[in-house]
Amino acid sequence: MPELKSRLLQALIAIFGVLTIVFFIMRLSGDPTLLLVPDGATAEQIAALRHVLGFDRPLLVQYGAYLLDLARLDLGQSLVQHAPVAGIVAERIPYTMALAGGALLVALGVGLPAGLAMAVWRGTWLERALAGFVLAGQSLPTFWSGLLMILFFGVYLGWLPTSGSDDLASLVMPSVALGAITMSSFARMTRIAVLDELSRDYVAAGRARGLSYGAVILRHVLRNAAIPVVTIAALEVGNLLAGAVIVETVFAWPGIGQLAIQSIASRDFLVVQTIVLFVSMVYISMNLLADLAYGVIDPRIRRDR
C-alpha cells in the first residue's frame, strides 16, 4: 500500500506539471480576443473585450485563478462556444473512446495473434511475412494511410462512408488507421514476451508431462507472456489518444483530438487545457491500472501488496 500511495503522489505531481506547462504555453501563444472580434473592430473595442475576458491581468494572477477554479472542480467557460468547458469536452469524449476502442480492438485482435504466431512459428516464412506486415504498420504515416483508405474504400469501392460518425461502418477506417501503429507494438511485444517464455524450462516440462505444444501455450505461456504485454498495452492507450489527434483530423472524427487542434487554433484556452488534463489523467491512470493488473495476473506481486 505505501507503494501505491507513492505512485498516486507521483501521478499527482505529473498531472500538476502537465497543467502548469500547458497553461503557460497556451498563454504565451497569445489570447483569443483578436479572433473573437469581427473584422474592423477598433483598438479600443478590442481592449475592452480583452478586459471583459480577463486577459489583461498578470499571468500569475490568471494562473492562480485557474488553479483556484480547478480546486473547486470548475473547468470554466469556453470563450468561443460560450458554454461550460466540461460539457464541451465531455460531449466529445465518447467519440474518442469509441475510436480508441476500435483501434484497440484492431491492435489487439491483429497484434496479439500476429505476435504469437511470429513467436510460435519462428524462423518460418509465416514469421517473415508477419514481420513485414508489422513493420509496415509501424512505418505507415497515418495521414497518408487514412487518405489512401478514404480514396479506395470510400470513393472507389464505395464500401465505407467517406465521413461521418453515425454508425459502426464509419468507425472502421479511422480505427484501422489509428490501430496500425499500436498493432505493431503489440505484435512486437507479444512476440518478445512469448519467445522469452517459450525458452523457459516449464514449457519443456509441460510437454514432458504430456501436454501438447498448443496446450502448453494456452495454459502456461500466454498467461506468463501477458505480464509485459499488459504494461505496454497500458502505455499504448495513452499513445492511442495522442494518435487520435491526427486521425480525427484526417477523418473529421468529432473527438477530443480534433477539438484540441481546433481549440488551439482558436485559442480556446480552457478547452485545450481540459483536454490535455484529461488525456494525461487517462495515461497516468492507465499506468496505475497496469500495475494493479499485474497483481491480478501475477501471484508473486499480489502477495507483496
Partner: protein, 495 residues
Amino acid sequence: MRALAFSFPAMLLAAGVAFAQPKDTLIVDLPGDVATMDPHLQWDTESYTVYRNIFDNLVTRDVSGKIVPQVATGWRYTDNTTIVFDLRSDILFQDGSKLTAEDVAFSVRRIINPALKSPQLSQFDQIISADVTGPAQVTLRTKTPYPALMAQLVKLSIVPKAYVEKIGDQKFNQEPIGSGPYKLRTWQRGVQSVLDSNDSYWRVKPPFAHVTFRAVPDIPTRIADLRTGRADITRGLTPDDAEALKGDKSLQVMPVATERVAYMFINALAGPTKDKRVRQAIAMGVDRDTIITALQQGYAKPVNVVLTPANFGYIADIPGWKFDPVAARALVKQAGAEGATVELLTSPAYDRRLNEAIQQMLGEIGLKVTITMTDQPSFLRRRQGSPEEAGALSQGRWSCACQDADGVIFPLFRSGSIWSKFNNPAFDAEVDAARTILDATQRLVHYRRAFEILREEVPGVGLFQDNAIYLARKELKWIPTANEAFFVTEMTWQK
C-alpha cells in the same frame, strides 16, 4: 451494420433516423461546426449559416442584395441619428408566443450590452438606445449619423425576450428559440445540428421537413460525400475542385461572386515598402490576370480597387496598375530596394498558392519575399500590431458582411485602425466624411476621392472579387447570393 448501430451509444442514433427518408431531409456539409446557436454571440460563417434559419432578422437582403423588410415592415429617419421601425404583428416564436416590439428592443439592447461579451459588439456599438415607441414600433438612436446602420441591422436576429430572460443566456445558447422557418432539434457539438421545419412559419412553407448541418472539415471528404449522396450541398470548394467537378453529371457547381475582396496589403509605414515607389512597383509586378486564369481558374473577377462591385461605394472607372514587370523592376532599382527582403505574413486561413505565386512574381522584379506563416491568432497579433512587426505584405480576403465601402477601406486604411499601416490625412478626411452622412450620392463623391488616393499611394492592391463556390446534387434548386447567406427557404428539390 445498421442493426449493430443500435447497440452503439445513443449519441449515434439521431443521425440513423435522419437518414431514413433522405428526400425529407436536406443534408448540408459545412466546413466546421457551429460555434454558438445564440445569434448574438459568435458571428462566424458556420454559426450564421445555421442559426439564420432559426431566427428572423429585423431586415434582410433579397436575392439581388437589396435591403428589404423582414420583421420590420418599413423604416424612416426622423432625424440624422434617429430611425423608426414599424413591425409586423403576426409573427409567432417557435414556442407559440408572439413576437412584439419589446422583443425587438430587447434584442438590440442585449447585443450592445457589454455584459453579454458579444464579439459582435463593435458592429452595433454605434447604437445608443432602442425603445418601444408604439404597439408595433421601435425607435433606434445612433451616436452620430451612421449610413451603415441598415447594413449592420441585416445581421440582427430577433430573440424572444421572455424566454431568454427565463432560461438565461447560457441555456439559450443550447436550446435557442426563434421565429424562423426551422427550429433546432439536436445539436451534437462537433458533429451536426439537426433542424426541423416550423410548420406555422409566417412567411413561406419550409421546403424540407428536416435540415441536417454536418461538420466535415476536409474538402475532399465533403466532395466524396456529395458524390456518394451522403450530403446534398456543401460550400467552400476551391476553383480547382470546381473545374474538376464540372463534368460530374449528378452534381452542380454553383459559383457566386461575393462581396469578399482578395487584396494584397502593403505596409506603408515601415520596411522597404515605406517607399511609395516600391509599393507602386509591387502593384505593377503582380500579374493579376495569370492569377485569375491559372490559380482561380476564372472563378474571380479582377478589381482595380480594394472593394468589390457588390459593395456600395465601388467606383468602376478608377484605373488599376497595369502588369509591367520591366517598369516595376526599374522602379525598384530607382528606389534602391533591389534585393531587399520583404516579409509576407500569412496564416493557414489564406490561400497558400497565391502567396507562393506572389513570392515568385515579386522575385522577378527584384524583391526577395520571405513567407512567414503562423497560426491565425499569431498572424492577427502581428498584422494588427505596430507597423514595424506587421510585415511588409500580406494577402487578405475581406468581407464586412455589410456590402458597404465603409466596412472595407475604413478599417483597412484609416489611420488609427488596427489593420491600417497607412497614414494619409486627406484619405482619413474622405472616409470620415463618408461615414457620417446619409446621402448616397455625396458619399460616392467622397469614396471616389478616397480611392484615387489609395491608387496613388498603394497601401494595398485589389486583386479580385472572390467567388463562393457551392457544390450541390443536381436535383437541388437554389441561387446563391453575394452576401454568402444560406437561406434554406430559398431552396427546393427540382422536379
